[in-house]
């Protein structure tokens, strides 16, 4: 354990490459998932249309997608024989971002739908009275729910950063190329190199705590201002 902390304190290049790639992949995936999931969730949350129930059920079901299945799916798409094989993306960080985006988008969309639906219940009559356009409605709901949506994005981040199965399959855990915190932990543990695995585990935990604390602080101040 002491050695594990020593590793963190020394912060060598090896460690920093792994952590940086982890953050880069996860943050990109979460950003993409937000880009798709926020508007999608807001549309489903703020409008009634045929097929709305089906989409809701689908989104909720996809929230629990097993990462390895997503990994397998993306692998099949990107492998040399697959339909997107020509892009040569397999075993690159891009492939990992794609897999995580698929994993996280339903989470963001489903949670956003819930948040927006609740807020819309409150605003609907006032909006109808104002005569707001559909676009203004979505934009205003997303904006006014921003503090709750931050928590939604955080849920996506948590899921992505801690995930192993999908990134292992499509990334291949190649040293200095696609090796991230979780895959390294898996690998080093199986090799018996527990210090590095432990160090990364502690870092992962620390990351989760820091991000959560930050979002919580924001939310508390938002609640105090009655904005959430």
């Amino acid at each position: 354990m002491a050695e594990a902390f020593g590793l963190i304190l020394r912060w060598d290049r090896e460690l920093s490459v792994i952590v940086m790639l982890s953050l880069q992949v996860t943050l990109s995936a979460v950003a993409l998932a937000c880009l798709i999931g926020l508007p999608l969730g807001a549309l489903v949350g703020a409008f009634r249309f045929p097929g709305r129930g089906v989409i809701t059920v689908l989104l909720n079901a996809l929230m629990g997608l097993p990462p390895v299945v997503v990994g397998l799916f993306v692998y099949l798409m990107l492998s040399a024989a697959g339909p997107l094989g020509v892009l040569g993306l397999l075993y690159t960080p891009t492939a990992m971002i794609i897999a995580q985006t698929i994993l996280v988008t339903p989470i963001i969309a489903a949670l956003t739908k819930q948040v927006v639906e609740d807020l819309h219940g409150e605003y609907a009559e006032q909006f109808a009275s104002f005569g707001v356009t559909a676009r203004t409605r979505v934009a205003a709901l997303l904006w006014d729910a921003r503090y709750s949506l931050l928590t939604v994005a955080l849920a996506g981040f948590g899921r992505a950063v801690a995930e192993v199965g999908a990134v292992l399959i499509v990334g291949g855990n190649i040293n200095h190329v696609t090796r991230v915190m979780t895959t390294t932990i898996a690998l080093e543990t199986s090799k018996g190199n527990l210090q590095l695995a432990l160090a990364l585990g502690v870092l992962l935990l620390g990351l989760a705590v820091v991000v959560n604390a930050g979002v919580m602080a924001l939310r508390v101040s938002a609640v105090r201002a009655a904005y959430a």
Binding site: Y123, E125, S129, F130
Partner: protein, 250 residues
């Protein structure tokens, strides 16, 4: 349709909104029925009646928030656009923003540019005596301040008709006075006012005419003094006399 317009040409001059055989049903229950009224242009029409009489429902139908189950609501304004009307709800809905941002939002919905929005918001703040609270979250305002903001926000929409659903029902006299001042100022500028109230004093102060609803029906309608001082319907008579009655009594 043309016929109806011709037929009521006389009314058109004086009335901005007419309800004909207006009714609403939900969940297999008829909640409002057979209402015929003309809302006089530029006047203040007050709606009275007991709890559950259908006042809020009636207001929603007039405002177009609910589609009528029976009958029609016809609009005779020069600007038949939806936004030529605004409503202050019984429970005001404050956006989760600052006071001034609530006003800006309403102004942006009108399609105004940045400059006009800022000017309009400032003016409305002053009118509502909320300039000091401009940056405060709207939801942290007191009940009276929220009502003032709701009225000011409705007025920046530049409505031809302003609907208000018991805007002063839980306010003290000073706050009530401020709301009445805002509404009267709008009326002086030519805005048609349709307002629900429980308060006879308020009806006397502000009403040009009074509509009295009872158990989902129009019990009585007429000039203020007539309805308040010499009501013909049993329900209105009981109400004005301060007698307790239930919807089954008449």
């Amino acid at each position: 349709m043309r016929d109806t317009v011709m037929e009521s040409a006389q009314d058109c001059i004086a009335s901005i909104l007419t309800a004909r055989s207006l009714g609403f049903a939900a969940g297999g229950q008829v909640l409002l029925q057979g209402i015929d009224v003309d809302i006089a242009k530029g006047k203040r029409t007050l709606i009275m009646g007991a709890n559950g009489a259908g006042k809020s429902l009636f207001l929603r139908l007039l405002h177009g928030l609910l589609p009528p189950s029976f009958g029609t609501v016809r609009w005779h304004g020069e600007r038949p656009a939806k936004r030529a009307q605004a409503m202050v709800f019984q429970r005001p809905v404050m956006l989760r923003r600052s006071v001034i941002a609530n006003l800006r939002f309403a102004l942006r919905v009108q399609g105004l540019g940045w400059r006009a929005r800022e000017a309009g918001a400032r003016e409305a703040l002053e009118m509502a005596h909320l300039t000091e609270k401009a940056r405060q979250p709207a939801r942290l305002l007191s009940g009276g301040e929220q009502q003032r903001l709701a009225v000011a926000r409705a007025l920046v929409c530049d409505p031809e008709i302003l609907f208000l659903d018991e805007p002063t029902s839980s306010l003290d006299p000073a706050s009530t006075q401020m709301i009445e001042d805002l509404v009267n100022a709008a009326h002086a500028r030519g805005v048609t006012v349709v307002m629900v109230t429980h308060d006879q004093g308020q009806a006397r102060r502000m009403g040009d005419s009074v509509i009295f609803l009872h158990a989902g029906r129009l019990a009585e309608e007429g000039p203020r003094d007539q309805v308040l001082d010499a009501p013909r319907s049993e329900a209105a008579r009981a109400w004005m006399a301060g007698r307790l009655y239930t919807r089954n009594d008449f």
